[in-house]
């Protein structure tokens, strides 16, 4: 059943392209219904999954000579992310209700992107995973280049180039693994079961890990993220930060770390105090946390603040992965979901609720609009998103970051203390942006057109995301009960044998 999330999204995209142009309302409705159907399927699959283990959904031969199969399967981790994708997809369409330019194509690209994202999360065959991963790049490029704003061609091109470089690295690693293993199959389980030689893993691991991590915003390969987010239209920013960056993190865990666990072993010598790839990536992740937060603290453009905050939060995910203990890894998966929801909400507030009304993202200029009075709902939504994002207890961000920091205390105590600095700076930049944008004194009496009130679709979309964040925050067990067994499954045996604590 859950495979239909992919097909229905693609079908919706095709339908939208075939439909007569010019009827924006119809296009929106079709897109929304498609996304809702996908969400319902995801939710059903999520509710039915009890054990968290990897269950095959579909399996048919595709290119038998290479052992490539059309093989979809889902475990607790995939399903959590599939559910996230469903939520973001619905909310993103609600926040695109005002798209007037080439509406049909916009939603067609949108659904194509969603379908491919579902595909990546559900693929068990690595070749298939790679195909979906590549499909994601194309609609992403067009969404930004056609419907974007500030320096959109530049942003779109930078994003596409970074993505292609990353996928090239992944492809090289995958082909090498296929050849070295001499395998008859590209299935994840088969390759993960093969004991690759240590020296091979030592170079294949960083290659594939970095290839995926580029998309996850690993410092110093993050620079596409802020520009891409800023250039993208609201719904695309939401997808980009909400689910596309998660593809990178998911790939790091599902492919790089599962296939090449020995790549995390100590080198036997130290460089700058780092003795393994694990240390290197943990340090880079922490630099990303602190650097992203500090850069966000000095931005004048509202969307850049959120863009850099994504870099900072993605750093938590990568740090969680590098802790290699159960609590840190579970926290990383939880943070993928949590950041997806909260970043989606933030971009919705900034891009749709604020920018589409005021046509400026300059924090100092926004003060003149007195937004907390003119559009109080936007202020409310941003405060909630901000509280979640800065890791206030009760919201999803808290549990996730808490678990990651516990994991980090165990693995890298010194880094855990540095992360504390990052959290404090995170509080500061959120509140600075919030104060300047929403609560500044309207000192200069500039006459503005009255702002349009927040529409029903916007309120609905924000409501869905807020409820999701609070639900995960107050009852993380909902996700943990299937994520933890998934992490304990035989698929992660290699990882567990090496360094699991």
């Amino acid at each position: 059943m859950v495979a239909w999330t992919i097909y229905i999204s693609f079908l919706g995209a095709v339908a939208l392209l075939l439909m007569p142009k010019g009827n924006a309302a119809l296009a929106r409705t079709v897109a929304l219904l498609t996304a809702l159907a996908g969400f319902a399927l995801a939710l059903t699959a999520f509710a039915q999954q009890r054990t968290g283990e990897m269950l095959t959904v579909t399996r048919v031969p595709w290119i038998p000579s290479l052992g490539i199969q059309y093989h979809l399967a889902a475990d607790g981790i995939s399903l959590s992310l599939v559910l996230l994708t469903g939520v973001i997809a619905v909310a993103g369409i609600l926040f695109s209700w005002n798209i007037a330019l080439r509406t049909n194509e916009f939603f067609a690209f949108y659904l194509l992107l969603i379908g491919a994202v579902y595909g990546v999360f559900l693929s068990y065959d690595l070749f298939l995973l790679f195909v979906f991963y590549e499909i994601v790049i194309i609609p992403k490029y067009f969404l930004i280049a056609i419907w974007g704003s500030t320096r959109r061609e530049y942003g779109a091109m930078k994003l596409a180039l970074y993505s292609f470089v990353g996928s090239a690295m992944v492809l090289v690693g995958l082909i090498a693994a296929f050849v070295v293993a001499g395998a008859k199959s590209m299935a994840l389980g088969d390759l993960a079961g093969y004991a690759f030689p240590l020296h091979f893993q030592m170079w294949a691991f960083p290659l594939v890990f970095v290839g995926f991590a580029i998309l996850a915003g690993l410092w110093p390969f993050h620079t596409w993220a802020p520009t891409g987010h800023v250039a993208a239209p609201t719904a695309a920013s939401m997808l980009l930060a909400g689910v596309v960056m998660k593809l990178g993190a998911y790939g790091c865990l599902r492919v790089a770390m599962t296939l090449f666990p020995l790549g995390l072993m100590p080198w036997g010598f130290h460089v700058l105090g780092m003795g393994s790839w694990r240390d290197v990536f943990a340090v880079l992740a922490v630099i990303g946390i602190v650097y992203g937060a500090m850069v966000a603290l000095v931005q004048r453009d509202f969307k850049f603040v959120i863009g850099y905050s994504s870099v900072s939060h993605m750093g938590f995910i990568l740090l969680g992965l590098m802790t290699l203990n159960q609590i840190g890894l579970s926290g990383a998966v939880l943070q993928m979901v949590s950041h997806g929801i909260l970043a989606g909400l933030m971009f919705a507030v900034v891009g749709r609720m604020v920018y589409d009304r005021t046509h400026t993202r300059d924090l100092n200029a926004l003060g003149g609009f007195n937004l907390s009075r003119t559009i109080p709902f936007a202020a409310f939504a941003f405060v909630v998103a901000g509280m979640g994002s800065m890791g206030l207890p009760g919201f999803s961000g808290f549990v996730a970051e808490l678990m990651i920091v516990i994991g980090a205390w165990r693995a890298f105590p010194l880094l855990a203390i540095v992360v504390g600095v990052g959290i404090v700076v995170g509080v500061a930049y959120i509140w600075r942006a919030m104060q300047k944008a929403f609560f500044a004194e309207p000192g200069s009496a500039v006459a503005h057109e009255p702002l349009a009130p927040i529409s029903i679709p916007e309120k609905l979309g924000a409501g869905i995301l807020i409820v999701a964040s609070v639900a995960v925050g107050l009852y993380p067990q909902m996700l943990l009960k299937i994520v933890v067994p998934a992490l304990n499954s035989p698929l992660f045996d290699g990882l567990r044998k090496g360094n699991w604590q």
Binding site: S372, L392, G420, V424, Q435, Q477, L480
Partner: protein, 520 residues
Amino acid sequence: MNGIPWISVLTAVPIVGALAVLALGGRNKQLTRWVAMGFSLLALLLTLLIWHHFNGASGAMQFQERHVWVAMLGADYRVGIDGLGLLMLLLAAVVVPIGMAASWQINDRVPLYFALVLLLQSCLFGTFTALNFFHWFIFWELSLIPAFFLIRIWGGPKRAPAAMQFLVYTMVGSVAMLLAFLALFLATHTFDFTELAALAQSGQLMPAVVAKLSGHRFMTQHIAMLIFAGAFLGFAVKVPIVPFHTWLPDAYAEAPTGTTILLTGAMSKMGLYGILRILVPIFYPQMQRVLTPLLWLAVATIVLSGYSALAQKDLKRIFAYSSINHLGYCLLAIFAVLKFTGNDAALLSQKYAAMNGALLQMFNHGLTAAAVFWFIALLEKRSGGLRGRGDFGGLRKVVPVMAGLMGIALFSSLGLPGLNGFAGEFLIFKGVFPLAGWAAALSVLGLLVTAIFILGVIQRVFTGPLNPLWVTMSDLTAAERWSLAPVIALMFALGLYPQMVLAVTNSTVMQIVQQIKLAF
């Protein structure tokens, strides 16, 4: 009792109230205010009921509820109260209606204001009842949000930097504390305060933490102190302890006075409560190691804040520093109780006295400070916002009732026998002198300065030649007199019969004191 989850209900009442107030909207402001007040009075009633059913003879946790929440994180929903918790509940339940009454004239975004006040009350109830760090921390952190917005939206001219400073200071402390507790969790797999305290008692806690974290380039002997320092910072900022206090005068002065009442009356007790509930039972070996510096900090808090109050001109800033000073006495008592002099059996009753005094002082300071700031609000309302010490003069002649009643509150703050402020300070000094004589002796300076600046306020504001600006100032209205009456009555009642509070706290105090052993 009867299977009703009293504490959960109590915590939920203000939240329901907040939603109700928001749902009412701003059309009928008077109705909104009364609905909010109604919910806070309902909470007060519930608290009194809990008090009625509370068994003061037992020092154990009562009204407990426990449900598994996030098993993987050792996070249970566990609430319960002992004498300390009940005292704080009573205080929060009394102070919030006072804060609302003092905010009656707020006219801008009324529903939001009162909803935030009610939300803050829920957070206070939650903080004072939670017995699991995970669950406690939610309320501890969440309380910042309403407080921040109350200052930020309705505050004075410099509210933006004041609110920001308040938030960032507190957050730095909270993050340090969070990291410390995560390290404890890592070693013990529990967030439960009672279990952590039991581990600390048996001496297993810190060795376990050290074993987990050593070998990671930390000096082994420093790990325990580092963890303690993180937890201490969180509470030190909140109380506040000098030199972590600099956020407080700005926040108190810029907040609308109704909010200042909540901040000083109830929120400042969160820090002290945390020290008593969490820091002392779990970290007393580390505290004993640095006991002399801690006592110095308490003395500095008392004396320096007293002198700072002397130098202030704004009434709100004067009493902001005075708040720091008063809570400093509690710190002095708590730290002194940790001391072992070799003659411990004989000193046990002194320790009980000091600790009882600290708890009494927490309640009394909450009540008195709330009353004093309420009078400042009434004064501000009549002066159009002026509240400098030198802006008035001779008010006794035009507003005799207000002068008289405010005089009572001020004398209570000064610690006049017969009023509530006295008993707590008396017990504290009685207990601390035999335990740490030098600290008590130095702290007497603080008492002296307090007397000077409070008498100075009375003199400058109420006596002397009448400032011609205020010839037409109107005295308290009947409504104001009636709403003040119970507060003033309570001040006398507690002053003459402190047993009312001591009956609640004594068993808990004995429990806390007996838990503390000489660790070295």
